[in-house]
Amino acid sequence: MSADPDIGVVDAVLRGDDEAFEQLVLRYQKPILGLILRMCGDPGEAPDIAQRVFLKAYTKLQTFRRRSSFKTWLYSIAMNLCRNELRRRKRWGYPQQIEETSVGVDPAVEDGLIGNERRQLLADGVELLPPMQKAVLVLRIYQELSFQEIGRTLGISENSAKVNFHYAVRRLREKLKER
């Protein structure tokens, strides 16, 4: 594993330097928000969940044992909180996230690269994936984590991460063929 670029800052926080932790927040708030949005949707809730991710990391930092990078560790906290949030919504009968993640018009992608119908089908397909497959897909495609990092983030083996990814892709292709 290559050297973790965050380890110096993590050490500073552990020595009691709270301002160093703010560096970590600034460094990771965007990818963490992106991850939360892809996993849970709901832009209204995402900043609140992100804030909880950082606070959990702050209080549990001394439990970070450096077997993985700080980034992977932080992502694992984010994935756990997302999972809790999705469970909470399910428990309280929130509407399916699919209604909230309808694909908006993004001029950057509107230049014929991908049709609206296909995009909507894909977006719906991602939402309807089983949770583990969705998590693996999001971490791989949008966070560009290696399968080893994905395994560490989700507490599964590297091979299991690959298998889940494979099934997710297969499902998405089937979804597109339904068209």
């Binding site: 949707g41 044992r65 906290i77 993640t101 995009r119 977006a123 991602v126 949008y142």
Partner: protein, 201 residues
């Protein structure tokens, strides 16, 4: 597909050129139109997936994260200084040692002769007694620290918290069972009374 399975095709398509097909695979692709089509389809799928826009976050909401975290950090320290301190491994060990010393001192104190005075029941409003109680919470905190020692345990911890709600149901069920048992007891008791009454007569 004999020599290129779908897993390999996905790998080639997904890494978008970072991984190139081997010479043998290239030869295979060149001679197999269906395989080429499959690879193109997969490459298109990944490209489309990457181009799916993500929900936009209000920049003000994003900018509010750091102040909120800062405030949360201060709140954590203010509200539970003991938990914060105990969460630090060095302090946790220190707390455990202090708790043990307090416990031993407490036992020693209790074994000393105190004349004929009757021992008073412990008053937990008294800071000294609270300090003794701290011995227990110190070890609990140490236990907590051990649970959280490795983030790999997070999923297990999650399951544990999930099972808390299950245990609530169990508790409820147990209560209901106990109530039923109590009712049965009452019935049994009255039946016995009735029987004994008859016998007495």
């Amino acid at each position: 597909m004999d020599k290129m399975n779908s897993e390999r095709l996905i790998e080639l398509a997904e890494t978008a050129g970072e991984i190139s097909p081997t010479a043998e695979e290239q030869k295979l692709l060149a001679g197999d139109a269906a395989l080429r089509k499959e690879l193109e389809g997969l490459t298109g799928l990944f490209s489309d997936l990457r181009s799916l826009p993500e929900e936009k976050i209000d920049s003000a909401a994003q900018a509010a994260i750091l102040p909120a975290v800062r405030e949360g950090m201060a709140r954590i320290k203010r509200r539970s200084p003991l938990a914060w301190i105990a969460a630090k491994p060095a302090f946790a060990h220190l707390a455990a040692v202090a708790a043990s010393v307090l416990l031993v001192a407490g036992i020693f104190f209790l074994t000393l002769p105190h004349g004929s005075r009757e021992a008073l029941p412990p008053d937990f409003d008294d800071p000294e007694n609270l300090a003794l109680a701290l011995g227990i919470s110190g070890s609990d905190l140490l236990h907590e620290a051990a649970i959280w020692e490795d983030i790999d345990l997070l999923p297990e911890f999650q399951e544990l918290t999930d099972s808390e709600s299950a245990s609530e149901y169990l508790e409820r069920d147990t209560r209901e069972l106990m109530e039923t048992a109590a009712n049965l007891d009452d019935q049994l008791f009255s039946q016995l009374n009735e029987l004994l009454g008859r016998e007495g007569r």
